[in-house]
Point group: C2
Chain length 180, copies 2
């Protein structure tokens, strides 16, 4: 049996900020619409950095950096992940589609498909995540090319939004690298 | 193009507490050793409910329900997911192994394998998650049958522990259902 030993920070081969900015990021954009908790926003910046995605789009009343509450959970990732803010989510979706991206809502919805069903033709893509309580809303869902759903096996049928985004983002990246 | 509409709670076919207790859970156990943040503990209860796993094991100084801080993020899942507490994590691992479970640490470590590499023979399994800052530690890693690693593509080489556990748990369940 092989021995297991945690790696120190120096051993992990972390990228410097400059190298990371230049590195090819995965063709995945995370859009956060009307996220109430800045801790969730910061946590999703941290996840976006780890997953190596291209950009975060902040819309509606989602707070934007710099904010102490975001930094508390982003741990610096608010400086490494490119982001843009649009007050109007419909304008953001128009701009993202004009850039050639498909838009997938992350939601429990009619006519959804599995979060693990992405195909090469679905990239580059935007993963759209909505409010912690109210979700994405039907007006924005109508603008989506598809809705991805994480299966819910328990009694609650809900996940923390930052956990759900993490599960879906890493699956977007895993499937891109497998198929791409 | 199909229309998308968010489902209401009544439409989701949620299980009642009784039905859920009786339902076959996935053969995955989550073990939380020395988790400092009760918010993270509660969030992992919520994720464990959604992923339909069998049990949570709490060891070391990880807080146990009932605690208001856990309930704030568990949103009731502390009542739906069975859990046990062991002060000594080595005793917990011995008991879990004696029940026939393989133990996988979730860590960035030497001789790790991908979080997406699980095979049918790896189940039933325990996913062991450690302290937010110090990780699992080499003493407990030495007791693991394997170490699973979520690839880190960015500058930080870390994820929030509740996000990392969510990514790994849903992959454990996805692979079990695919292979099982």
């Amino acid at each position: 049996m092989a021995g297991f030993r945690q790696l120190s920070g120096d051993e992990m081969g972390r990228l410097t900020l400059e190298a990371y900015a230049a590195a090819d990021r995965h063709p995945v954009t995370l859009m956060l619409h009307n996220i109430r908790s800045m801790w969730n926003v910061g946590s999703m910046f941290r996840t976006a950095d780890a997953a190596g995605i291209g950009e975060i789009i902040l819309t509606g009343y989602t707070a934007t950096p710099p904010r102490k509450e975001i930094e508390k959970t982003a741990l610096g990732a608010q400086l490494t992940v490119p982001w843009r803010h649009f007050a109007d989510p419909l304008e953001a979706l128009s701009a993202l589609k004009a850039e050639g991206r498909k838009v997938f809502g992350l939601e429990i919805a009619e006519n959804s498909r599995s979060y693990s069903s992405l195909q090469p033709a679905d990239y580059p893509l935007v993963l759209l995540v909505g409010n912690e309580v109210d979700g994405i809303g039907d007006e924005l869902l109508a603008q989506c090319d598809g809705v991805l759903e994480i299966p819910q096996y328990g009694t609650k049928h809900s996940l923390n939004v930052a956990v759900a985004a993490g599960v879906a983002l890493f699956e977007c990246v895993r499937l891109f690298l497998r198929e791409g």
